[in-house]
């Protein structure tokens, strides 16, 4: 009787008591201890993956930079690895050109889609259009590349004279289309999380829907919108197959979108598929290029996370 009372007084943590008792039963007790260890190992794999990526890129890049000067690499304007010229600037400008064209296509279209879906469309329309738009994000990039080469480029040739079979314009536009759903969907989420009371307040003051969208919702959802754009741009930087297929393989220091260019990603593919032997300078150069690419996208991703954390409006 006294013991029962004591138990009731110690009622604080029945679960712990039961668990203590359980642990005495050896088999299940061991399992209870082994499982977290196993799960921890699973979680460790993702950390090891990051470590592996850093290690791989660093080690091979360092080997590369022991034969090629790092200054020449980042300031050189000629990229022709098979004749020994390793100046990465043409690849960087190629990547920037594609990213710029993609951003010009995707940011306005994505934002306007997001405003339409969040501020104008009825619930039913949104429920149909949003998933359909997201289908665009699920289409394999090799399909986009095929489409850019066989449809968009011939189409653009009618409008833009002097357009090559491989050109930055067509690839950039298609990369832009590919990242529209990212911007539209994530921005729409951000705008959707702006509380309705703000909208109703503005509407009650006589604002039109447009004014509500532009002066109330957009500023309130700003951090989410910017984060989505940065994330999408980072995706454009890392996009590979579309540029490999549609933009060609001529590393040129140019901002002329009608010409063929080569991006960082496209060179990695070219360098890895050619008759590149393990241990050759070209083999190591793809890691130096990969490290450059990795730093670009990592900075963008961290910027996106920083923006959405730092400037988040809480309601």
């Amino acid at each position: 009787m006294g013991k029962a009372l004591q138990n009731e007084a110690m009622n604080i943590d029945v679960q712990t008591m039961i668990e203590n008792k359980r642990k005495k039963k050896s088999v299940s007790g061991k399992l209870e201890k082994l499982i977290p260890a196993f799960l921890f190992l699973c979680a460790a794999v993702s950390v090891l993956t990051t470590a592996g990526i850093l290690f791989t890129l660093l080690r091979e890049s360092i080997t590369f930079f022991s034969t090629t000067s790092i200054v020449d690499f980042y300031t050189g304007t000629q990229w022709s690895p098979w004749t020994g010229h390793f100046g990465v600037l043409p690849l960087i400008t190629g990547t920037l050109l594609i990213t710029l064209i993609a951003a010009i296509v995707a940011i306005p279209l994505g934002l306007m889609s997001a405003i339409f879906l969040s501020e104008y469309a009825s619930d039913r329309t949104r429920k149909i259009i949003k998933p359909t738009l997201e289908v665009l994000a699920g289409i394999p990039t090799v399909v986009y590349g095929f489409f850019a080469l066989t449809f968009v480029t011939p189409l653009l040739k009618n409008i833009v004279p002097g357009l090559g079979i491989f050109n930055a314009l067509s690839a950039g536009i298609v990369v832009g289309i590919m990242i529209i759903p990212m911007i539209a969907s994530l921005s729409e989420d951000a705008m959707n999380s702006v509380p309705n009371s703000l909208r109703e307040g503005a509407l009650a003051l006589g604002a039109t829907r447009l004014e509500v969208a532009m002066k109330v919702v957009l500023p309130a959802a700003f951090s989410g919108i910017v984060a989505s754009i940065v994330l999408a741009v980072s995706r454009a930087i890392g996009e590979t197959m579309i540029v490999v297929i549609a933009a060609g393989a001529s590393p040129t220091l140019t901002f002329d979108p009608t010409r063929s260019i080569q991006t960082l990603t496209a060179f990695i593919v070219q360098g890895a598929t050619g008759d590149t032997t393990f241990g050759s300078t070209i083999y190591y150069s793809i890691y130096a290029v990969g490290a450059t690419l990795f730093v670009f996208t990592l900075l963008m991703n961290m910027l996106s996370q920083y923006i959405s954390r730092k400037f988040k409006e809480e309601y």
Partner: protein
């Protein structure tokens, strides 16, 4: 004396209303551009590829002539690849999610792992290819094999699965968890018998979507050495292999126009597989998702 100039006000309001309507139209048109592009893409590929898409195409190996080429090696290769990716990525992904949601203390290390996973999701797929090339192909001496490709892909989709599984586990209400503890169940028993069954629809949906990404991915597999033309099926984990996107890429690169039709037919097969997987994901979500 009236302070309100009604006429002027009406004029100004009309201007604002017109602007609102004009931009509403513009926003709508912008939204449809993405949709039109999607429709064009599907229509174009359908009309180009349908002529070459027949049972011979699905059961034939690559050939030097467009009429005889087929996607059999790629199709089987993709399926075998998923057979490697799925068990590895699901075990690691769900394990990580359970660890982070149920076991890990909310401290700096857990936060570090979390941020790390977020960043991994943003790493370009081709960088995973480089990781696979150094680590699986050369360091573990797997060579250009199915296993090396599969493991690379498993790492690629891992962050997506972790995030999906975490969300699914988090959305299991704590009531039923506490009810299980209250009945005397241990932590692992609760996870295995209460939390996981409740979270499985969400986990499966996210996993299938992640795997469908793996099926469509090309770039990392080029780096880790998937073959472009293969006349036999892989017979072990250490065989050479090819997958559908690689075959499509290879056909796309050929100059003669007929190969475009072959590529389009290959894309159709790929899209049908993806459509099927997505349909399964949607079905699972609608069928089994419980609302608490």
């Amino acid at each position: 004396m009236s302070g309100i100039d009604e006429k002027n006000n009406l004029k100004r309001i009309r201007g604002r209303v017109i602007l609102n309507n004009v931009l509403k139209g513009l926003f709508f048109v912008s939204t449809t551009i993405g949709l039109i592009f999607l429709a064009l893409l599907l229509y174009r590929i359908l009309t180009q590829g349908i002529g070459y898409l027949n049972s011979d195409f699905i059961t034939s190996f690559p050939a030097p002539y467009p009429e005889e080429a087929g996607i059999f090696a790629g199709l089987i290769g993709s399926i075998m690849m998923i057979a490697i990716v799925a068990p590895v990525a699901i075990t690691l992904g769900v394990g990580t999610a359970i660890f982070l949601e149920e076991y890990a203390y909310k401290n700096r290390w857990t936060k570090f792992i979390q941020i790390n996973i977020q960043n991994l999701a943003g790493v370009p797929s081709i960088v995973y290819g480089l990781l696979g090339l150094t680590f699986f192909v050369y360091m573990l001496r797997l060579g250009y094999t199915l296993l090396a490709g599969g493991l690379t892909m498993a790492l690629l989709v891992l962050p997506v699965i972790v995030v999906a599984a975490q969300e699914a586990i988090r959305s299991v209400p704590s009531d039923i968890k506490e009810a299980s503890y209250g009945m005397g169940a241990s932590k692992w028993q609760t996870i295995r018998r209460v939390i996981l069954p409740a979270a499985i629809p969400g986990i499966l949906t996210g996993t299938i979507l992640a795997l469908s990404r793996a099926i469509g991915e090309t770039a990392p597999l080029i780096i880790v050495g998937a073959a472009t033309a293969l006349y036999t099926l892989p017979d072990s984990l250490l065989s050479k292999y090819t997958v559908m996107p690689i075959q499509i890429f290879n056909w796309t690169g050929r100059p003669q126009e007929e190969w475009q039709f072959v590529a389009a037919a290959g894309i159709l097969v790929l899209l049908i597989v993806l459509l099927f997987m997505n349909a399964v994901a949607v079905f699972i979500r609608n069928k089994f998702q419980k609302r608490y």
